[in-house]
């Protein structure tokens, strides 16, 4: 019986092309996934770096008994430019007074390393500081970095 040893379903070239095509098609979702992961990872490290290098110090606070305004002098001592976004003033009795970006004015709005920004709350709302009482003032930046200062009104 005669056998046909030269019988092939596909030529080697065509077979290789098919394999390449399949691999390429399969790799596309992997590529898309890994690219996104890389971007997220890079973004994570970048934000972490900014937070790690963001540092503020409250130098002085002008908060006096019976006066319905408050001025905080905040210095940026980190490498990242900062913007003050929240101010918390807590009383010895535990009452917490929260002031958002809309409640105060910062001058200048954003400061770089070494510079000073003045945060002025022109109206403390229902909070009326009492003289000779110690209050705790906290200022936070837009990335959640903050500093604490105790002041006797």
């Amino acid at each position: 019986m005669k056998t046909n040893s030269n019988c092939k379903a596909l030529s080697p070239i065509f077979a290789t092309l098919i394999i390449l095509a399949i691999v390429t098609v399969l790799f596309i979702p992997v590529f898309i996934w890994s690219t996104g992961l890389t971007a997220e990872t890079k973004s994570f490290w970048n934000i972490s770096g900014e937070i790690a290098t963001e540092r503020i110090v409250i130098e002085e606070v002008n908060l006096r008994g019976g006066i319905q305004n408050c001025t905080m002098y905040v210095r940026n001592i980190g490498k990242t430019a900062i913007t003050a976004s929240d101010v918390f003033i807590s009383s010895p009795d535990g009452a917490l007074h929260i002031y958002g970006k809309a409640d105060f004015v910062t001058d200048p709005d954003s400061v770089v390393q070494g510079d000073l920004t003045t945060v002025t709350i022109s109206d403390l709302g229902g909070f009326n500081p009492v003289g000779n009482v110690t209050y705790t003032v906290k200022v936070f930046t837009s990335r959640g970095v903050g500093d604490t200062y105790q002041v006797v009104a």
Partner: protein, 302 residues
């Protein structure tokens, strides 16, 4: 895939770098320390300039001056805006202040650096200095007991072999005596600050104790002013000189020998011991004894 890994590593190393930078900033901040050391006024009414001393180990830059009084805390100026406010370690800088800042003795002046390190001090303390402590003790009048020694009235003088004062020699300040001086007398000044008269007897001594060899102490015994009973009377509130001459308590027979300064070159402590009686207000007498250590030592010099 290789480029993806490179990107991730670059992001990580960039993070690592900025964290190290921040740690460096924190380290520098921990080395910063400033103090306010002076404040000058303009016509005694306004602040003129403030002196800031860098007591840390790193150069600082003063970026803010505040004044806080009872009613407000105010930002006065950023001196770096109009002058060079860098201060090297262990150096001071006079920082000019804007005109028109009133001097308030009770207010605090505050200086802050670029890294957020602050110092504050009362304006009055900077202008007038710290208050002098109330010193209740006059160091020239230290005493415990009824006889008060006047430390600045203390002399020695050469004596002859029979104990009489050498008429050709003056009294010399007692704090330093030449080595091998020979026979000498000591003269101290005391005041009776008790409310009772005192009589001291011939056993009262002036003891010189070398610091290096206390066992070789030399006593000088009293030369009594009353040669009958060999005592000396010290009335209330009166200053009297007491003279010490003798190597032993003086004898009524006159058979006494004067003490000789035989100590080598050294520094000595001096102790005065007094023995005698108080004359009480009711006419009786009670025993009296007192020791006065000198606050300063005498020196035997070569």
């Amino acid at each position: 895939m290789f480029s993806i890994l490179i990107g991730i590593f670059l992001a990580f190393f960039d993070y690592n770098f900025v964290v190290l930078e921040q740690m460096k900033i924190e380290d520098e901040r921990s080395q910063e320390r400033i103090v306010l050391s002076g404040l000058e006024l303009d016509n005694q009414t306004c602040l003129y300039n403030v002196t800031v001393k860098n007591t840390g180990t790193i150069e600082v830059r003063v970026r803010a001056i505040y004044v806080a009084d009872g009613t407000t805390t105010a930002f006065i100026c950023d001196p770096s805006a109009y002058m060079d406010t860098y201060i090297p370690p262990d150096r001071s800088l006079n920082i000019s202040l804007p005109s028109g800042v009133p001097f308030k003795p009770e207010a605090k002046i505050i200086a802050a650096t670029e890294r957020g390190v602050k110092t504050k001090e009362y304006e009055a303390l900077l202008v007038y200095g710290p208050p002098k402590p109330v010193w209740e003790y006059d160091p020239t009048k230290l005493y415990i007991g009824p006889l008060m020694l006047q430390f600045d009235a203390f002399w020695y003088r050469k004596t002859l072999g029979d104990g009489t004062l050498d008429p050709n020699e003056p009294w010399n300040p007692g704090w330093s005596i030449p080595k091998g001086f020979g026979y000498c007398a000591w003269n101290i000044t005391v005041m009776n600050i008790d409310d009772r008269n005192i009589t001291i007897n011939r056993f009262s001594t002036f003891n010189v104790v070398p610091n290096d060899s206390p066992s070789t102490e030399l006593p000088w015994y009293l030369e009594p002013t009353n040669q009958t009973d060999l005592t000396q009377f010290l009335p209330v509130n009166q200053t009297r000189n007491i003279i010490y001459i003798w190597a032993d308590p003086k004898e009524a027979s006159g058979d006494s020998r004067p003490q000789k300064m035989t100590l080598p070159e050294c520094t000595c402590m001096v102790f005065l011991t007094f023995f005698g009686v108080f004359h009480e207000h009711d006419g009786t007498t009670t025993t009296y004894a007192q020791t006065i250590p000198f606050e300063a030592a005498i020196t035997v010099v070569g």
